[in-house]
Symmetry: C2
Subunit: 344 residues, 2 copies
């Protein structure tokens, strides 16, 4: 961090008090209830235009903003949808999904808040989320158990939705089945006549939630065919990829499913540098269908993954908030299909 | 979205009431004040171990979680640091920075909340943030004016910090000077003997906050040298890159600063496909120093950008929260240096 010389800090003035609705009421010459009706746009109560204007002007003059928490204390719930931040670095697919979801929930007049939960786990995390009294919670990548769902519901959350490989008791579930991603890749390589298939397993912590089911999917695709699977641990570093490429011939593989496009680009580069012929000697398949994969030569084959739409998820959340009594819904939402290019 | 057949929804049972601290007090046979002291870990008040245990057991049994909002209403402020979500798609650099910041603020016992503000602008956004009564607000990419800073402070925010190209009156500023990024690239290309320099300007909305100052930086580096700058509008699509590459010879350029590594990879691929010799005919420089740039042939030259550390920013936030009266601090925090590889 490059610091500019710091300016001299004068002695602190006494902080001015935060204006309250009582201050607004006093200045406007109305009751606090009237202030609340006007600023929360309550249409049930008839209030004259002149009074409304007086309240708005007083609020403006004092710099008063209603307190969402006070409002949610009165109402018993907020319009806040809380989404814990994913615990692993997110790719462009997830960013796009989150933006869509945020936009779609905004159309239903919800506020989306992403909660930074690094260092919190399980029930402890659920308790921290519950303290904010969200009306709905969308959990992106596991870590929530049935007890956590119970804590959230007891604190007033009407909808708890998980996105992950398995359903959690008491919560609605959008199942993201990464087994299908691996299965697509395995079936494709088998159809291309490959029999000795390596599967990259990233060494970075947190990615095992995705890599394990993908590996299982490849195994399932190959079941009963006599084709073999070899696990290939790999960290996302050039040196690690070069080491793996250096012992490639001794592994005797004719194909590799490289976890995703980024690992595939890393490994394919190292294999080409080591003189491996792609795809003749080894076929390479990634996943995610990033544009960069099309820019490589040979062009990278990949598994195109379809996430649920933010709009569908927003509709589920709103439906459950309005009618929270139903049996938890379960939807299978991850689509996977191979995009065949030159590397396989 | 692939839907499983929906389960039949039984008629909704009446929702059970959310337990309150009064319920906990009743079950534990103590006052509400005692419940509050125990659950908020107030050390100023002497309470016996037995009573503490009774309160915790009652809270556990009822599934009671304190309400952060109620606590912050009493205390006058929360421990919440609010960070509006960036309005443009974030790259891996920003994700890393946000995770660092979250972790560092967590060490100071703050909770980081990212607010999804799509569709809100200026003072309207500031008002929405103020409703949550954060004790500090960190604004990542512009859009906040002096009036917004005032609204936030009036609602009780003790620290308002902006990350951006310019300071905002009343707020602390970490200045991210993207002019320096362009200047580094321009000076490098000039030193490599280039005189007719193209600068990619992405067509995607929102990126102009970064691309305009980078372009200005290249111009500044070339001032008085007789070298020329040509703006090259480009959207992030293969077809657009191919069209630009198709008329490359008519442009008469001998170098291009391609905004960042992703645009550089896209354009370099199109130029190579169009038979342009890199770097002999045209030098190419990106920015961000992504690992993928090293995997290309020729290896991509790039501007390495150093963001402020999450820890330094967390220390600034905590210092200002504890002593909010000082003159706003201004720090220059964006480092930029060229990493010279094969493409320039």
């Amino acid at each position: 961090m490059v610091h500019l010389p710091e300016q001299p800090v004068p002695s602190s003035p006494a902080p001015t008090a935060v204006p309250t609705s009582a201050d607004v009421a006093r200045l406007a010459g109305v009751s606090r209830a009237t202030v609340s009706y006007v600023l929360n746009n309550t249409s049930a109560v008839r209030i004259s235009e002149a009074t409304r204007r007086r309240v708005h002007e007083a609020a403006e003059e004092l710099g008063y903003v209603p307190h969402a928490a006070a409002r949610s204390l009165r109402a018993g719930h907020s319009r806040m949808v809380l989404m814990p931040a994913p615990r692993v670095p997110v790719g462009p697919l997830h960013s796009q999904f989150f933006n869509d979801l945020q936009w779609a929930l905004g159309r239903f007049d919800y506020t989306v808040v992403q909660y930074g939960g690094i260092g919190l786990n399980g029930d402890e995390a659920a308790r921290a989320w519950a303290e904010l009294r969200p009306v709905a919670v969308v959990v992106p990548d596991g870590g929530l158990g049935p007890r956590g769902v119970h804590i959230l519901k007891r604190s007033g959350a009407r909808a708890v939705v998980t996105l992950g490989p398995e359903r959690v008791e008491g919560a609605h579930a959008l199942l993201l089945d990464h087994v299908g991603v691996g299965h697509s890749a395995g079936a494709h390589l088998l159809a291309r006549g490959r029999r000795r298939i390596g599967v990259v397993v990233p060494g970075e912590p947190g990615l095992e939630h995705f890599s394990r089911p993908r590996l299982a999917g490849v195994r399932r695709a190959l079941e009963g065919t006599g084709a073999t699977v070899t696990e290939l641990p790999l960290t996302y570093e050039e040196e690690a990829a070069a080491r793996l490429a250096g012992r490639w011939r001794s592994l005797g593989l004719d194909a590799v499913f490289a976890y995703n496009d980024e690992y595939a680009m890393l490994l394919m580069r190292a294999l080409l540098d080591a003189g491996v012929d792609i795809p003749a000697g080894t076929a390479v398949v990634g996943a995610d269908d990033l544009m960069l994969g099309r820019l490589l030569r040979p062009r990278l084959s990949t598994v195109h993954i379809e996430l649920p739409s933010g709009r569908d998820l927003a509709e589920l959340v709103d439906r459950v908030v309005r009618d929270p009594g139903g049996v938890p819904e379960v939807h299978q939402v991850l689509g996977a299909r191979v995009v065949h290019r030159e590397s396989s």
